[in-house]
């Protein structure tokens, strides 16, 4: 198995407070990995550092053999909140933007995903509900042929039925060698997809295990994950 992502000695602070401290993480290619942790643990910050949109950190982040931010960005696809587009922007204008700027963006792939998500190209962003917007973001993310997909709580506003459908289809949308790092609170729903689990706790990588290993010793991944916080709840 080839290492795709290698993070060494990562420290990230904001306002003089550590968000991430001494994070070391290696991810192999071709895996689907859950990034779990309670709210404020640093999951989004870790993804932002990997994606190169969080700055002023120390340590090393290497993706597909490259350390520079621009190189990493070319090899990953991160769920973008579409902040760069006005509310009246049509979906097809967003697609035009992605197509003209990302050489790995496939319009055909997006079209298939769009139809799956039941989105109309002529719809404007301010006409989309929260769930529809998240579906659009997922479609745009997977329409790119990237080595690493970073999905930051992608299913929050999506209804349960659609969520199940999308989760079951994710494996079909990625290339064999591509890796997906997904942070989500619906642990049980995504557990069938997962190869590995990374837990962020106490500002660092608390645990990094394969799902097979977890299932050998626990009933489910959710049980394992909840077990880590049991003492704190009392």
């Amino acid at each position: 198995m080839t290492n795709l992502l290698k993070i060494t000695g990562l420290n990230y602070k904001k306002n003089q407070k550590y968000i991430l401290r001494d994070v070391n993480l290696t991810l192999d290619e071709g895996k689907i990995i859950a990034l779990l942790g309670e709210n404020g643990a640093g999951k989004t910050s870790l993804m932002r550092v990997i994606a190169g949109v969080a700055k002023n950190y120390s340590g090393q982040v290497e993706l597909a053999g490259g350390k520079e931010e621009a190189f990493r960005k070319a090899h990953l696809s991160f769920t973008d909140g579409l902040s760069g587009f006005g509310d009246t922007t049509k979906i097809k204008e967003v697609v035009n933007f992605y197509e003209s700027l990302y050489s790995d963006f496939s319009e055909n792939e997006f079209d298939e995903l769009r139809k799956f998500m039941k989105l109309d190209l002529d719809m404007r962003l301010n006409q989309l509900s929260r769930g529809m917007r998240e579906k659009l973001i997922i479609a745009l993310t997977f329409a790119r042929k990237a080595d690493l997909y970073l999905l930051d709580e992608p299913f929050g506003g999506i209804d349960a039925m659609a969520r199940k459908k999308i989760i079951n289809s994710i494996i079909l949308w990625k290339e064999d060698k591509a890796t997906i790092l997904i942070s989500d609170h619906f642990v049980n729903e995504i557990s069938t997809l997962l190869d590995e689990v990374v837990i962020i706790k106490n500002q660092t990588v608390f645990a990094h295990k394969s799902t097979d290993e977890i299932r050998e010793n626990h009933e489910s991944i959710e049980e394992y994950y909840e077990g880590l916080y049991e003492d704190e709840g009392e």
Binding site: K14, V53, N56, A70, D80, S100
Partner: protein, 282 residues
């Protein structure tokens, strides 16, 4: 990775949407203002005078000429509006995750952002001048009076080659001053924004609005003070380097351009450093 030209083109396209809207608003507002002016003066005499000569141009000819004048006057307001809008847009775009996720280095993206605003500004100016020129051309075609007036203006104004060269030199140097000043304006806004952002992110008081406000005020004062010191240094240096009383006609313009260029390079480099190191996506 994406090329600089692709990112520049996309940013230029985004900014041009606003340029087209501004130019359209200028045209519509100018037409309305012209109509108001002509109707309030009961249509005027339909005549234009230059020196002792008067030319009959009719009401329509009057409308054409006044419209050209009003549009030319409005360029001041459209420029100011675009200036303010683009200054804010540059900073907003710089912090948007959609743009920060593009696989291009921070320095190239920063340059593409600033230069696209500058080129849009030039495009807006040229577009407005072209519309005024078309208006006057139309006037010349349809009004005999306007045609005669224009002929009178340009007759007897034969310029020698030297005079033409001097006029061209003056226009080019003046245009360069405007362009370099525009870039400097964008850079100064950027520096203030990035220093403020870096300071706020560094300080331990994350959510304290009063502290954030205080930081902005202190930095603004320090920034204006530092800038005035730099400008004084430049002013003293130019007095030492050459004697203004013996300066040739365009020497001060050449010097101003050089000073602006140096400031642009220094502040540009500083901005690129700050942007790459400290400015996170929202």
């Amino acid at each position: 990775m994406i090329s600089f030209s692709k990112v520049f083109k996309e940013l230029f396209h985004v900014k041009n949407r606003v340029v087209h809207m501004i130019v359209l608003l200028n045209a519509v507002a100018s037409i309305i203002l012209t109509l108001i002016m002509l109707t309030s003066s009961n249509g005027g005499k339909g005549q234009i005078s230059t020196g002792s000569r008067a030319y009959e141009i009719g009401n329509f000819g009057g409308f054409i000429l006044v419209l050209a004048g009003v549009m030319a006057m409005m360029i001041f307001f459209t420029s100011a509006f675009y200036f303010i809008w683009s200054s804010v847009a540059n900073e907003k775009i710089g912090r948007q995750q959609t743009w920060q996720l593009l696989p291009i280095s921070s320095s190239k993206f920063y340059l593409a952002n600033i230069l696209s605003s500058l080129v849009s500004y030039i495009y807006m100016g040229l577009l407005q001048v072209a519309i005024i020129a078309l208006d006057l051309l139309f006037g010349i075609m349809v009004s005999d009076g306007i045609r005669k007036w224009v002929n009178y203006i340009f007759s007897g104004t034969e310029l020698s080659n030297v005079e033409v060269a001097e006029i061209a030199q003056g226009l080019i140097l003046g245009a360069l001053i405007v362009l370099l000043s525009t870039i400097l304006w964008y850079l100064l806004i950027g520096i203030y924004h990035y220093l403020t952002r870096a300071a706020i992110e560094f300080m331990p008081f994350a959510g304290n609005k009063f502290i954030t406000f205080l930081i902005r005020v202190v930095l603004l004062v320090a920034f204006i003070y530092a800038l005035s010191m730099i400008l004084n240094v430049f002013s003293d240096a130019s007095r030492i380097i050459f004697d203004p009383s013996r300066a040739q006609a365009f020497d001060t313009m050449y010097l101003a351009n050089l000073q602006l260029l140096i400031l642009d390079i220094v502040f540009g480099g500083l901005n690129i450093f700050l942007y790459s190191r400290f400015v996170e996506a929202k």
